[in-house]
């Protein structure tokens, strides 16, 4: 192993910045997964498929609105909403019948959902790949003193904290957040108090899936939108969630930071084997703290 690049402060800080932008999408996707896992106790394998669906919907919505910047921003809102609506239908008609089953069944059921979503995408959008453009305001990059940062990465860096703050507000300041936090710890108790847990669950599931759709629509303009783009993100999201502590949204933030930064710094240090770094980080964390970094909700 040799250092391919002279490690300078500049290149290091550049890599950190870029890694943080990558963290944003990881955090958005994995926090949704973590929320669903914590409150509903569903290891939602179809989360990745919903992310993919979000990307495809963002593509279609942007196109329908004429491919303008306004269309892109509209798609950032509408595509996740559409995903959330689909997830609501799925939750009400299918998942709500299965809450009492064990995790294994739920895992397999969501795997089935992922399979179905994949083929639905195949039927609706065709088998090939799609590509959408960044709105012109996000094209190009900023450069200052030898560093460069794509404008869109900067945009992502702004969106990440916004989502985190929104989640914090939702969990700590709203009724639904409080109920769901209680439900995550004592499900029976909340039901006994007379709160309709079923609808709280539906709402939380929708929010979780909204985040998956948001992640998908955020990455849609930067990569080609294809079937199977869910296969790697879902594993990464699960790794992040177990690294952070099952069901802990802040754990998801911490996990995605570790994952995103080891990934981007790994590229700088040992580009040929950079993929190994995040995995290694996960294993080290889990060897030291088998139950994740932060307290899990159960």
């Amino acid at each position: 192993m040799h250092l391919a690049v002279q490690l300078t402060l500049a290149s290091l800080s550049q890599q950190v910045l870029v890694g943080l932008a990558e963290t944003t999408t990881l955090f958005i996707v994995s926090s949704g997964l973590s929320l669903v896992l914590g409150v509903l106790r569903i290891p939602n394998i179809s989360h990745g498929a919903l992310y993919m669906l979000g990307a495809f919907l963002a593509y279609s919505i942007t196109r329908m609105l004429g491919g303008t910047a306004a269309g892109f921003f509209a798609s950032l809102l509408l595509a996740p909403l559409a995903v959330a609506f689909i997830s609501l239908v799925v939750e009400r008609f299918l998942l709500s019948r299965l809450y009492e089953r064990d995790h294994l069944m739920l895992l397999l059921f969501t795997f089935a959902l992922a399979l179905v979503f994949n083929d639905v995408v195949n039927i609706v959008w065709g088998a090939g790949y799609r590509s959408m453009q960044l709105p012109s305001m996000f094209q190009g990059s900023f450069s200052f003193s030898g560093l460069f940062l794509p404008r869109y990465s900067l945009f992502l860096l702004c969106v990440g904290p916004l989502v985190a703050i929104g989640l914090w507000f939702l969990i700590n300041r709203t009724k639904i957040g409080k109920i769901s936090r209680a439900a995550a710890v004592h499900r029976e108790m909340v039901g006994a108090v007379g709160i309709n847990v079923s609808w709280v669950f539906a709402a939380v599931f929708m929010i979780g899936c909204f985040l998956a759709g948001l992640g998908g629509s955020l990455v849609a303009p930067t990569q080609s939108i294809t079937q199977g783009m869910d296969a790697s993100i879902i594993i990464e999201a699960f790794l992040i969630v177990i690294m952070g502590g099952l069901g802990n949204v802040w754990g998801a933030l911490l996990g995605s930071l570790i994952f995103g930064l080891t990934d981007s710094l790994g590229v700088l240090i040992w580009p040929q084997f950079s993929i190994v770094f995040p995995y290694a980080a996960v294993i080290v964390v889990l060897l030291l703290r088998p139950a994740g970094l932060l307290r899990s909700t159960w």
Binding site: F109, F111, V116, D119, F238, L246, A280, V282
Partner: protein, 329 residues
């Protein structure tokens, strides 16, 4: 009441006798198959047997041990890779490769198991999934050694076992022997205690069982048999690819166990036959295989969580679910 229970015991015993009889018949049918069927179906039968062995080895820990074995394919792939690498890189004699490959799987099972058994249920499964993904990533990346995404082709095998019929007979014999061994294991004290841990880990600890150690042993045994299945896969297909270790394969095999019924011994084999059959033969009619699999799986979970064989064996314990639930409350 005693009448009822003795008739129940009788029924169980007669069921067991029926099973033995059916097994003998099945072995004879298996031996005669290549004389009746065209080549392709012989190959298909071999593939079903290999996948069935793989699924049964998973069921050893999943159905009988109650462990959330989310990434069993790693051991399957490890066996296959160890076998292929020993033949192509080390030019080892065939018998040695056959012997060592499952041991490599077992060692991997020990390593992964030793890390994972400290945790239980979902954590166990998730950690295993991530460790397995790491193994996959290494296999996929390590070009000079594993051949990367192309896998290993042109594995030198004598014609006697690489021809369709030869591979079939080897597979059939090995699978039957392995199934017999696994049946013995399931019904041994080890297997009984394993089932006890599945039903109630807390209780098992309280009767003096070291459940971590027991689960680790189970993991190693299951990995060993998965490794054998991996070797047979190489014999039947003549190739090894990193796809074998991908996480979706593990879930597909889990679906086989679920479909056949994971509280039954032969369920996974039946599930493997149905899934492999559907996958092979629907290809001629439709490209929407994953949609079909998804719908089958949903229907199973909603209406048939005990699996097909589970449904048939059910009369013996139909009341169980109900009172088990009331008992829990």
């Amino acid at each position: 009441m005693s009448e009822a229970s003795s008739s129940l015991a009788y029924r169980l015993r007669s069921l067991r006798r029926l099973e033995t009889f059916a097994c003998l018949a099945a072995v004879i049918v298996l031996l005669l198959l290549p004389f009746v069927l065209p080549d392709f179906y012989v190959y298909f039968a071999a593939l079903v047997l290999v996948t069935g062995l793989f699924a049964t080895s998973l069921n050893l820990v999943l159905g009988y041990g109650g462990m959330y074995q989310f990434h069993h394919a790693v051991f399957y792939g490890a066996g296959a890779y160890a076998f292929a690498l020993m033949l192509t890189k080390a030019h080892a004699p065939l018998w040695l490769a056959c012997l060592c490959a499952p041991l490599v799987s077992a060692v991997l099972g020990f390593l992964i198991g030793a890390i994972c058994v400290r945790l239980s249920k979902l954590y166990f499964g998730m950690l295993q999934l991530s460790l397995g993904s790491l193994v996959w990533a290494i296999v996929y990346r390590w070009y000079s050694f594993t051949g990367g995404d192309n896998g290993i082709n042109e594995i030198p095998l004598p014609n006697a076992i690489s021809s369709t019929t030869g591979a079939y007979y080897l597979t059939a014999v090995v699978v039957v022997v392995c199934l017999f061994l696994m049946y013995r294991i399931v019904n041994s004290p080890f297997g009984k205690i394993f089932q006890a841990i599945r039903d109630n880990p807390q209780r098992s600890e309280a009767i003096g069982v070291n459940i971590r150690l027991h689960q680790l042993k189970g993991e190693v045994i299951a990995a060993f048999f998965a490794g054998i299945a991996g070797v047979l896969y190489v014999v039947v297909e003549g190739t090894v690819v990193p796809d074998m270790l991908f996480w979706t394969v593990s879930l597909e095999v889990m679906v086989m166990c679920l479909l056949g019924g994971w509280y039954t011994f032969l369920g996974p084999l039946l599930g493997a036959a149905v899934i492999v059959g559907l996958r092979t033969f629907t290809g001629a009619y439709t490209e929407h295989w994953s949609l079909i699999l998804g719908i089958i799986l949903m229907a199973l979970i909603l209406w048939l969580p005990e699996g097909v064989l589970g449904l048939i064996v059910k009369p013996a314990n139909s009341k169980m679910e109900l009172s088990a639930e009331t008992g829990r409350k």
